[in-house]
Symmetry: C2
């Protein structure tokens, strides 16, 4: 690993460098990473712009093969990638192996999506030359990619939501060149993955500007990337402040562009009375397993749990507290995330309406100690600060006085990625009355499960109203993520000879079409 960054397939270096940090120790890892210069950033964007017209008109089969080639190139490097990611993220090997599989699976899913061709959205209104009073010309539309896309790596998914993650895979699938800003928490992992993509670009004889990787420990290049006129959309997974900052840059451009920021969510979980009565202890243990999984560093971490006060809840709490007390401190992704977690917990424990119910061993400068907190429905409703996401292995239980207060609390929440109901048959009427609220608040609604664990599939929605995301019309996980990077164009009476292949009468790309008389 030579610490260069990748501009249109070329390794480049600069005088300024930074180092990766070992998550477990907070110490610098061997290896210097060059900080991308403003000139090289601009070059990456210009090369992406130059690559666009060619790359976007590659046949679906070409793009599908490209995505599969990236997956294979990642697998070839899997040992090195996982070994480096373990050091940089503090995540264990099993998790990272699984995440690599998720990443390659994601690339292969988008290869299938590209081949199937629904994304191209071909719609044809046949010419009606005899129509009175006016004839109708031949009209045919398709979806074309929006242009070069800026992708920001996420700290908590060094593989599946970073350099070759869901944003990159869906943007490339759509036909958009991608410039990735690596997350500074895993520069080495990012470079290894970026090299795999660059290799696939070359192997598939695609324009070199199809992919670039920029590195910097701070924020200046990221803002400059979003501000660059060649960039036409942004994919981001991270903090609310980070997402809002990028949204502001994008909105202030001469040409504002869409930002798909997946930001903050506290993922309410509701225990309905019959389910709680039936299996309080199991639910308690499963709750703690979900909230503490990989130090709770998931966008879908169950940040609040809502249930009615009473003996069933007491049994749930007893089991949950026992489980949580046994959760050891876990290495967090970065020392910065560990200290932000500490501050979040401190702010909750200083809140008069909140009590600490259970606590694992205290954290350290790099590890987060698990915490379970509790408040009452009235206190929760009175203090919006209790709805702020605390990223890490903690959760806040909201004890409500009756089921009406459950609805009231759900209505009080901002947009969420997920909302979960634990329910038995006797709970159906209550659940049915809550469902419309949850539909308005969340992108995904679960029954009898836990929100951590997001299936990468055709129907998945990993999105939701603000502030869960910046754009509730979209998802960043699953096949529908491709639609973020497409826009429709209509062709009126264009001669077949010059129509793009996707729209020619002979349909050479064999795309699905909807035709109307």
């Amino acid at each position: 690993m030579d610490g260069s960054y990748l501009i249109g397939g070329q390794r480049r270096t600069s005088a300024q460098t930074f180092q990766g940090i070992e998550a477990a120790t907070g110490q610098a890892l061997p290896g210097d990473f060059a900080v991308t210069t403003p000139e090289d950033l601009a070059l990456a964007c210009t090369l992406a712009e130059q690559a666009f017209d060619h790359f976007r008109e590659t046949a679906p089969e070409t793009r599908a093969t490209f995505l599969e080639t990236i997956a294979t190139a990642l697998e070839k490097r899997s040992e090195a990638i996982v070994a480096r990611a373990m050091l940089e993220s503090g995540l264990p090997q099993g998790r990272l192996n699984g995440e690599l599989g998720r990443t390659t699976g994601q690339l292969r899913l988008f290869a299938s999506v590209v081949r199937e061709g629904d994304w191209a959205g071909v719609v044809i209104d046949k010419a009606l030359p005899e129509r009175a009073p006016l004839p109708r010309p031949d009209l045919r539309s398709r979806q074309i990619p929006v242009g070069p896309v800026a992708v920001f790596g996420a700290s908590n998914f060094p593989l599946a939501f970073s350099v070759a993650g869901g944003d990159t895979a869906s943007a490339l699938a759509a036909g958009c060149p991608v410039v990735v800003k690596a997350h500074p928490a895993h520069p080495g992992t990012s470079l290894l993955v970026g090299q795999a993509i660059a290799e696939a670009v070359e192997q598939c004889s695609l324009p070199s500007g199809t992919f670039s990787l920029i590195q910097e420990p701070g924020y200046a290049m990221g803002s400059a990337l979003v501000a660059h006129p060649a960039i036409k959309a942004v994919g981001f997974t991270g903090s609310r402040s980070g997402g809002l900052a990028l949204m502001a840059v994008a909105a202030a451009r001469a040409e504002p562009i869409p930002v798909y920021a997946e930001m903050s969510s506290i993922n309410p979980v509701v225990l309905l009375p019959a389910a709680l009565a039936a299996r309080a202890p199991e639910l308690g243990r499963a709750y703690v397993a979900s909230l503490s999984l990989f130090a709770g560093q998931f966008c879908t971490n169950p940040g609040i749990l809502i249930a009615q006060t009473g003996p069933d809840l007491d049994r749930f709490l007893a089991a949950a507290c026992e489980a949580l007390n046994a959760v050891p401190p876990q290495v967090m992704l970065t020392p910065g995330i560990a200290s932000a977690y500490d501050r979040g917990i401190a702010s909750l424990t200083e809140n008069e309406g909140v009590q600490v119910l259970a606590a694992g061993a205290d954290g350290t400068a790099t590890c987060g100690g698990a915490r379970l907190l509790v408040t009452d429905g009235n206190d929760f409703l009175a203090d919006p600060s209790l709805t702020h996401e605390v990223f890490g292995p903690s959760s806040l239980i909201v004890r409500v006085r009756d089921t009406a207060q459950i609805a009231q609390i759900l209505e009080s929440l901002q947009g969420q990625l997920t909302a979960t109901l634990h329910l038995d048959e006797a709970d159906y009427p209550l659940a049915a009355s809550l469902l419309p609220i949850l539909e308005r608040k969340a992108g995904r609604i679960l029954a009898n499960g836990w929100p951590t664990g997001v299936e990468v599939s055709r129907s998945m929605v990993h999105g939701g109203p603000f502030p869960a995301t910046s754009d509730p019309r979209t998802t960043s996980v699953g096949a529908m993520a491709i639609h973020r990077f497409l826009r429709p164009v209509c062709y009126q009476a264009i001669p077949d000879a010059i129509l793009p292949p996707a729209l020619k009468a002979s349909n050479p790309q064999n795309l699905p079409r909807r035709e109307f008389d």
Copy 2:
């Protein structure tokens, strides 16, 4: 017409009033219109919010019937509507009769779209209980409406893009209650149309908050409408400054929301050499017919025409000038629009690089006089002010020295609603080389036609990159407009008993589904 506004089906008045203006004379028309109070605006939004959960879950057949009922109610009032619209807009009877037909046709198109059900986007990932290492739960997603929508009436389509126009029709089709801010240029037309919608709401036994109509001569209530927390999306057709103002209000909300603003476009038309040689005079006459149609007050008016200097262009110009000199001044939509047109023409004629080629008789305080202007390719490229839209019966011809400059000029343009090529077979190679540029710049590309006249159909795209619109991923005309007001929600392992009808195993609404193993 009693001059009240409509809040959830109730006629309401206030102490403050304003009057409609006769476009032809600039004089006040009889009848006072009450200015909506802030309290009533808030009430309209609250009622829309209360109506939302019921309205959005109405069966597709119910919503389709509702849209058809509005169409019928408009037809019942057509004489009164057209008569009032003639006075308020200055547009002739034939055009307004046509526009009413377009409006009812649009409502009926969306009724078909709602019945067909593709909009619901049902995707099902079947449960895979045996999958290793982890089973897959049942996952099913659908599109649900975003929430109450604010619609702003457009000055230049008092029917088809105002109270019951395309934005309203597509939002209601999606299941969103609508609060319309009437355009102050046609308060009487707006009220008559609003009464038709309110009647349909009642006739179909829908919640009264499904529709409200607010009126004011200024901007305060419009901004307050976009800022109201109950509103979740905005549809707007109008000026760039107006669209940008609403975008800023929407972005500054605690919960930012999407604004679909269709703003400004100069709709480049390119005459390719063989087509120009073959039919210069016909093209010249057709160009003037398009640019002067209804005083050129179309978003798709051909604002610039690009062609190569030479004898063929001279023949084109001769025919165009002859036609334009004969264009009489035409009543414009409002005295304000007439004076803005005068200012736009004055600014062009004062520009050293621009010459007036032809002129109809001078305009008046309410009428616009047709103008044909010309500049050279180099001057055009050097002065971005020449790309500003001048709304009215004028167009700027850009004489280029060679075909390479055509590409250069097209690349220099901002986003457009349309781009047009006039071409013969000998022009195909050149046209094919320009097409990728046009795809990046415009929402609709035409051959051998004129951009005015937008078909309301399945494949139509009336959209395009900024500043043509605020959101290039969308269209405001045609069936795809419904997608602006939908967002996906995924249901994970939700018991069939409480799933919404759209997703139940028995598929009671008979919606199209995509299922994946």
